[in-house]
Symmetry: C2
DNA sequence: GCAGACTTGGAAAACGTTTTCCTGGAGGTC
DNA sequence: GACCTCCAGGAAAACGTTTTCCAAGTCTGC
């Protein structure tokens, strides 16, 4: 293992000079010494020991990213956006997946704190239970006290910079659009009640229907994935339109209807939420509420790295997009 | 920032004892001192400084994962498998995405070497050009000389432990299965020629057709994604069956045919490769060659962490799965 | 030529751990 | 009771950088 000292000795200069040449200091180094050091470094195959560098500098070049599930294209899209900016700024990204377990989220923050990462990004819905949220916040505060930066994508519950998708307003707008097509009887395929994002979407959707004076929709709970959508959809009956709180759940619903011989959109309309890129070739094309997922990831990194503020909340609106999976009743 | 020394002083013990209590040593510490240290640590909110720990220990608890593209479900699936094992072994995962640029791959290996990660996983097709492969190998060798472990998923070209999907045999088996359905005139939607995986799949497919004495297929090149599949498919004419070297490209082909009013499978059969989980609700359901993606990620981590061997190649076979997108000609 | 202001290079003190020795005492054996 | 072995605890030397001082030039302006 070749160290900076080896390089310095080989080049006949001091440790300080070698350090200044190789690891970007503000100080100038004379051209001839600089050349000697660079030559030695490449001859010996020197690689900076980042652990030592981090220790000496007191700051690392890593950011931590905590998501629920990498296979879920929702998180993959946000992570992709985040990673692109990070790369642009010379940062490495350390990823943890919680599989929706709040205690794993807390454990990851603790681990990332130990790693002294520059910033941690918490992506994904908060939970309804205040207890894990309180403990998470405690852990985050400990991290932030020592200069750590935090940004979230989700609900603004942690006192950090947050990118907040406007789930409620998006779902409400979708409800109005669907009502505009003439639908009056709805079913909502809701995610688990203890997750805030699906809950907000349900609230927004139901609230809008109420304001329009339409009948209460049938609300069916299921897990927050394709299977949950499938299972919930099997219980749907007597409605003309189904809102799944997630595109991924909507895919399950579509499959369920297909298996039952129910045609979409002829027999029932289906809409989702998120506008997942990978699903844009679905037949019929899914009506949904578009969220600018990669941008949200980008924004989160930018907020985290911008030390001029804190606790900012940036609301991002969803855009209703009606495609083939919903049709008008006339 | 509270250090181990603070904890030791607060507990009235030496640094050594505090270290032994808090960071898992083999040495015993008396119960009363142990309790004091643990109490102090939690009262002060101590968090290990991993950089210092890594420096002192000379080994980190991080593994590096380099993939082409996180949004591509192929890589997401492998990464997911890898992350699950890593978590189980208390390892953090650092991810880099190359977007298929070989030089970025090399740069990442260098960076991960600097981080002194325990192991590097290189996931994704190698390229045909030997030059970047040579430089990558050089960089890997430098890393391995100092004790770094490497595992790849893809072609066995780097002298490392490798999980090798049998692209050629899988594609050949698919060709035979499709010929068995009565197809004689094929088109192949090939990925870029400079990537080895798509190339192997084309070779295997074409070779099998030749062995069967069938006419040469029409080979159309396109980019390695949905758009590439779409574009290539627009040029398809006069065949009864299309093989896209990737499920993702097959999705593009399906969309293209739909836009042109060509029915699948009535007018033309379509098959892909990979069996991407997220795409299993496609209509029509895609015939494909299944690769056990998450398992491949798991295996790669296991190989990397198993220091009893090196340079091992583990071939994983693909399984032909015929679904609705292909039909027999009778 | 000379005082002052920059510049360039080096010595050495951090940074926060782990781990190797030491030391002293407790327990066992004859 | 003397000897040996074992074990818990501590002092201090790593680990590989960065960075703060210092010293010694080299300019600039007069």
């Amino acid at each position: 293992m070749v160290t900076l000292e080896d390089v310095a000795r080989h080049a006949g200069v001091s440790l300080a000079t070698a350090s200044r040449v190789l690891n970007g200091s503000t100080r100038q180094v004379g051209a001839s010494l600089r050349a000697k050091v660079e030559l030695s470094a490449s001859e010996l195959g020197y690689r900076t020991n980042v652990a030592a560098q981090t220790l000496a500098r007191g700051a690392s070049n890593v950011i931590g990213l905590v998501v629920h599930d990498l296979i879920d294209p929702y998180f993959a899209a946000i992570a992709d956006g985040a990673m692109r900016v990070a790369e642009g700024q010379g940062l490495m990204v350390m990823i943890g997946t919680t599989h929706r377990d709040p205690s794993r989220e807390i454990a990851y923050v603790s681990t990332l704190n130990a790693q002294r990462v520059r910033a941690v990004l918490l992506v994904g819905s908060r939970v309804a239970d205040p207890e894990p949220t309180r403990r998470l916040r405690e852990e985050l505060d400990r991290y932030r006290e020592t200069g750590g930066r935090v940004a979230c994508v989700g609900q603004d519950l942690l006192g950090t910079d947050t990118v907040v998708p406007d789930n409620r307003a998006g779902a409400a707008a979708l409800a109005r659009a669907l009502a505009g097509l003439g639908h009056r009887n709805f079913a909502v395929l809701a995610g688990p009640d203890w997750l805030l994002s699906p809950r907000d979407r349900v609230t927004g959707f139901v609230g809008a229907l109420r304001e329009l004076g339409l009948p209460e929709p049938l609300v069916l709970y299921g897990s927050f994935d394709r299977e949950g959508g499938y299972a919930a959809a099997t219980q749907v009956t007597g409605v003309t339109c189904v809102f799944a709180v997630t595109d991924v759940m909507a895919v399950g619903a579509l499959a369920s209807f297909r298996d039952r011989g129910i045609r979409v959109p002829e027999d029932v309309s289906v809409a989702g939420f998120d506008d997942i890129f990978t699903l844009r070739d679905l037949v019929p094309a899914l009506s949904t509420v578009r969220l600018p997922l990669p941008d949200m990831g980008v924004r989160a990194v930018e907020l985290a790295m911008d030390t001029t503020g804190d606790g900012r909340a940036e609301v991002v609106a969803g855009e209703v997009i009606l495609r083939e999976s919903t049709r008008g009743l006339d």
